[in-house]
């Protein structure tokens, strides 16, 4: 499976995390699971990129981490979007769509 998972482009991980957290507060492994689930295993986010990504977004003020009890009564650090994060998500979404469009045009032009 790791072989078939796509290389994440730089900057797209942030967008993925923000989008995932837009659904509701989540802790680290849940975020990774959710991304894998939604992309049907295309994006396997590992700890080595997940946690730096989370902390980078937290430093940027876009998400906020808090200790909470998980469903199975363990202490987990759960993250939620901040207002700035929501705005950032919107901008990045637009940007991303534009890039995708542009790429499409390039790739599909004859």
């Amino acid at each position: 499976m790791p072989q078939s998972s796509a290389e994440l482009m730089k900057g797209t991980l942030d967008l993925l995390i923000l989008r995932t957290l837009d659904l509701g507060p989540m802790h680290g492994s849940a975020i990774a699971d959710r991304i894998a689930q939604v992309t049907k295993g295309t994006f396997q986010v590992k700890a080595g990129s997940l946690f730096p990504g989370l902390h980078r977004l937290e430093q940027g003020g876009w998400i906020r981490g808090e200790w909470q009890q998980s469903a199975d009564a363990r202490r987990v650090r759960s993250y939620e979007l901040t207002a700035a994060g929501r705005r950032q998500l919107a901008t990045e979404k637009t940007n991303w769509k534009r890039v995708v469009q542009a790429m499409d045009q390039v790739l599909e032009s004859t």
């Binding site: 590992k46 700890a47 946690f51 902390h55 980078r56 430093q59 363990r74 650090r77």
Partner: protein
């Protein structure tokens, strides 16, 4: 993210590291726990599940390290990256970087230089105890402003003034110090006991001056400076009580002043900053002569206004009590702060220079603003691309901020170097024309001000494009590149800035032109004598050796004969004081038959036979003095044309001139009339002049030697000849006569040179701005020109389009600037000489210069526009 939040986070990251680390530890542990638990519930053995969980996580320590980088990443690393990027982009645009650096450095350097000078000269308090309470007391008497005090007036002030204390007098003097068989010429001052305590000049050891112990006939006590003590006495503490010979008189060293004391005293006192020997001076009870400089201290609680009221009343009292003495004109006594008096003369010139440097700084700022705008416009696409690639507004703004800070700080550094170089140059150039020049040093607050201003300007105009971008749509500039027209708003702003630059540069240019004409007028002013090829040497006599006037004349005749025998010497005579020497003799003169009419003020010079032809003073009527006049003690005088005309419009020859000083009155017969002679200053046209023979006013003479040799090459022979003549004192101040003239217009020359540098900077900066803007606008219109050419427009039409643009900018700038220049010229009226503030030829010259500069600035862009290849221009982006 807001900057404050970012800074808060940076501190949090740096100083609450432990907390963050434990959070991270726990977070990672729960993550691995969870993965392992998942594997175990899938039936994996616990040990294997843990191992695989760790492997999948990719090594706990590596993950931690990467998270730590993320913590720092947002702050320091970005800053470093910005800095590196800034340096790279600046290096990639060397022309832009160099011009901005140079422009800002010029502005900063000039401002720091000028305001450092002004702070030292005008504003920094004098290094004396409560300096704002020290006042200079001015005596205007017999119609002469600042004539100095008569000794008895000082005694009266000491006794009667209730608001002034420590009323002291001082006067500069030359001293010939002899110690251990070695003679040295040093600066000295003669002061009353209170003066040094008033200025806070304590003795390092020994006792202060005390004139009461100086009973005539006894050995006098002196104080010496710290530097003389170190130089001549090897810093020997046992120097107190030692006897030295000063001006051939035995004197005893009473004490040594503390190191670093400098005497900042008005120029009229003849005292220099570095006085080496302080003589105690008593005050005679007489009103027969005047000329003493007086300073005093306001008593606690007294104001200058109150002191002036009291002095006015005391002056009126003096006149009432001594009607005979003050019968010619009133006595007016006024007080003003010592610092005000010290800086009075230099102030207008310094303010003019400060104004000029202000213009340099303004133009520099406008120039940089313009360059920044042009560059910003050129970078719109770069920024837009970076933004499209995901860079946030804050990120872009911060990066541009960094770039501009690097520029401004670099310019600040270069500017400071420039300032220290130019301060050294000003030190050399200003000579003695700058008050308190020894205090001039680069000034901290001024540096801060100049750097803050330029940083502000670069940031403001550097950020404009970025901010404009932030507010606009990302794709606009990307598209704009193709249609190739800059936003009309930006073009208007840029044109406006160029017009402002041209206008601003005209003002210092016109001032400089007026000063240049002033200087030329001063150089060409008819002095009434020709100093070229004349070497002068002051010839002091040992007055103890030759106590009587009758004895001195033969000594001088002997000295002159010996000087005449030196090879290379054409003619020799003597006079005193020399024209434009710092000390001059002013007298009131009138018609002898009208003793009641108050006379006119004139300058007096003692001259020997042959002086007039030697210095080329034209004798219009009558004859020169002869040696027989002296031997026979004939009461004769030679007056200049102005004096003759004012007193005897009908013809002055053979008339009797009355010279009154104090209560004595001398009547002399006019035997010669010369062309007008100026001796107080080149500018001073109004004061008439007359010459008296040696026996009428026998003072220390100065030899004038007509020669083709230089002063330096002649000096040893002159010293030897004087020594052989047994005058008892050495000749000194051997220098060309024209150096006195040069000194007397030195302040104007200083002003002119510095002003010229500033004006040239302004023109240079304005032309760079004009060139840059035209070049930029044309580069933006390459496509348009290409279309015009393709459609059949001729090259001349394109060139004329560019030139018209340049002419329009220069023209509108010139019109605005001339209005400002006329106002400025009116303000500097008092610095001018024989030039009207609205001098047409100066204005025309300035306009011609600007036209020339603007043509030159427009030529290159116009040439480039003419060479546009229509084909290429339509294809380029």
């Amino acid at each position: 993210m807001r900057l404050t939040a970012q800074i808060k986070r940076l501190f949090h990251n740096l100083f609450r590291r432990g907390e963050l680390e434990s959070v991270l530890d726990e977070e990672l542990n729960t993550y691995i726990d969870e993965i392992a638990a998942r594997k175990m519930s899938a039936g994996m053995a616990p040990a294997e599940a843990w191992r695989q969980a760790r492997v999948e996580a990719g090594g706990v320590e590596q993950v931690k390290e990467e998270v730590r980088e993320a913590w720092l990443g947002n702050t320091i690393e970005t800053a470093v990256r910005d800095l590196r990027y800034a340096c790279r982009t600046l290096r990639r645009a060397p022309g832009f970087t160099a011009v901005v650096l140079f422009t800002l450095a010029l502005g900063i350097g000039g401002t720091v230089t000028m305001f450092s000078v002004m702070n030292a000269a005008l504003w920094r308090p004098l290094p004396y105890p409560s300096p704002n309470r020290i006042v200079f007391v001015q005596f205007d008497a017999r119609g002469i402003a600042n004539a100095g005090a008569a000794p008895a007036e000082v005694l009266d002030l000491q006794a009667r003034s209730t608001l002034l204390e420590h009323v002291s007098i001082f006067g500069g003097a030359d001293a010939n110090l002899e110690y251990n068989g070695e003679a040295e010429h040093v600066a000295a001052a003669s002061v009353t006991d209170d003066l040094l305590p008033l200025l806070g000049a304590d003795t390092a050891f020994g006792r202060p001056l005390n004139s009461r112990t100086d009973i005539p006939g006894m050995v006098r006590n002196i104080l010496i400076s710290d530097s003389l003590w170190r130089r001549r006495f090897g810093a020997d503490p046992a120097v107190v009580g030692r006897e030295v010979s000063v001006n051939n008189l035995p004197m005893q060293i009473a004490g040594v002043l503390r190191p670093g004391f400098r005497a900042y005293l008005p120029a009229s006192s003849n005292a220099t900053e570095n006085v080496d020997i302080w003589f105690p001076s008593g005050i005679e009870n007489t009103r027969q002569y005047r000329g003493f400089c007086v300073i005093a201290r306001l008593k606690p609680g007294a104001t200058i206004a109150q002191a002036n009221a009291e002095l006015a009343a005391l002056g009126a009292d003096f006149v009432r009590e001594n009607p005979d003495i003050y019968r010619h004109g009133k006595l007016r006594i006024t007080a003003q702060s010592l610092q005000g008096e010290l800086t009075r003369q230099a102030r207008p010139a310094l303010f003019l220079l400060a104004g000029a440097v202000g213009f340099v700084l303004l133009i520099a700022c406008v120039n940089v603003a313009n360059l920044m705008l042009a560059r910003g416009a050129a970078r719109q696409r770069e920024l837009a691309i970076r933004r499209a690639m995901g860079a946030g507004t804050v990120r872009l703004v911060r990066q541009i901020l960094t770039e501009n800070l690097v520029l401004a700080l670099g310019a600040g550094a270069v500017g400071l170097m420039l300032a220290s170089v130019s301060l050294a140059a000003i030190g050399k150039l200003a000579g003695t024309h700058l008050p308190m020049q020894s205090r001039v040093a680069i000034d901290g607050p001024v540096v801060l001000f100049a750097v803050a201003l330029t940083v502000g300007v670069t940031l403001l105009f550097g950020l404009l494009p970025a901010l404009r971008l932030a507010s606009g749509r990302v794709s606009d500039p990307l598209r704009a590149g193709r249609s190739e027209t800059a936003a009309p708003g930006a073009r208007l702003l840029q044109r406006g800035l160029v017009v402002a630059e041209v206008a601003l540069s005209i003002v210092p240019l016109v001032c400089c032109g007026l000063m240049l004409r002033t200087f030329v007028n001063l150089v060409e002013a008819p002095l009434g004598f020709n100093p070229a090829g004349v070497v002068t040497a002051r010839l002091p006599l040992n007055f103890k050796q030759y106590p009587k006037d009758d004895q001195r004349w033969p000594v001088y005749r002997d000295v002159l004969a010996r000087l005449r025998a030196i090879p290379g010497v054409d003619a020799v005579s003597a006079a005193s004081p020399l024209p434009f020497a710092s000390w001059q003799v002013l007298r009131r003169v009138g018609r002898a038959e009208q003793p009641e009419t108050p006379g006119i003020v004139a300058t007096q010079q003692t001259a020997l036979h042959g002086y007039l032809p030697l210095v080329g003073t034209q004798l219009r009527q009558g004859r020169d003095f002869t040696d027989e006049d002296i031997i026979a003690k004939r009461p004769v005088v030679i007056v200049d044309d102005r004096l003759a005309h004012r007193l005897w419009p009908e013809g002055a020859l053979r008339k009797r001139l009355a010279i009154g000083w104090g209560e004595t009155r001398e009547e002399l017969e006019i035997v010669g009339i010369t062309a007008p002679v100026r001796v107080t200053s080149v500018r001073d046209e109004g004061v008439p002049h007359y010459f008296v023979p040696f026996h009428v006013y026998a003072i220390e003479m100065t030899a004038v030697i007509k020669t083709r040799e230089t002063a330096a090459s002649l000096a040893p022979a002159i010293r030897r000849a004087v020594n052989e003549a047994n005058t008892g004192r050495a000749a000194f101040d051997i220098r060309p006569m024209d150096s006195y003239v040069a000194d007397s217009i030195g302040d104007t020359r200083f002003l002119l040179v510095v002003l010229a540098v500033f004006a040239a900077s302004c023109v240079l900066l304005a032309s760079v701005g004009l060139y840059g803007t035209l070049a930029y606008l044309i580069s933006r219109r390459t496509r348009e020109f290409g279309i015009r050419l393709a459609l059949g427009s001729g090259i001349p039409a394109i060139v004329s389009l560019v030139v018209r643009e340049g002419a329009l900018l220069t023209g509108s700038g010139a019109v605005i600037g001339l209005a400002g220049a006329l106002a400025a010229a009116g303000a500097i009226r008092q610095l001018l000489y024989n030039v009207a503030p609205f001098d047409l030829s100066t204005l025309l010259a300035v306009i011609a210069l600007l036209a020339l500069v603007s043509i030159a600035a427009a030529a290159v862009p116009a040439w480039r526009a003419a060479r546009i290849d229509p084909n290429a221009s339509l294809r380029c982006d």
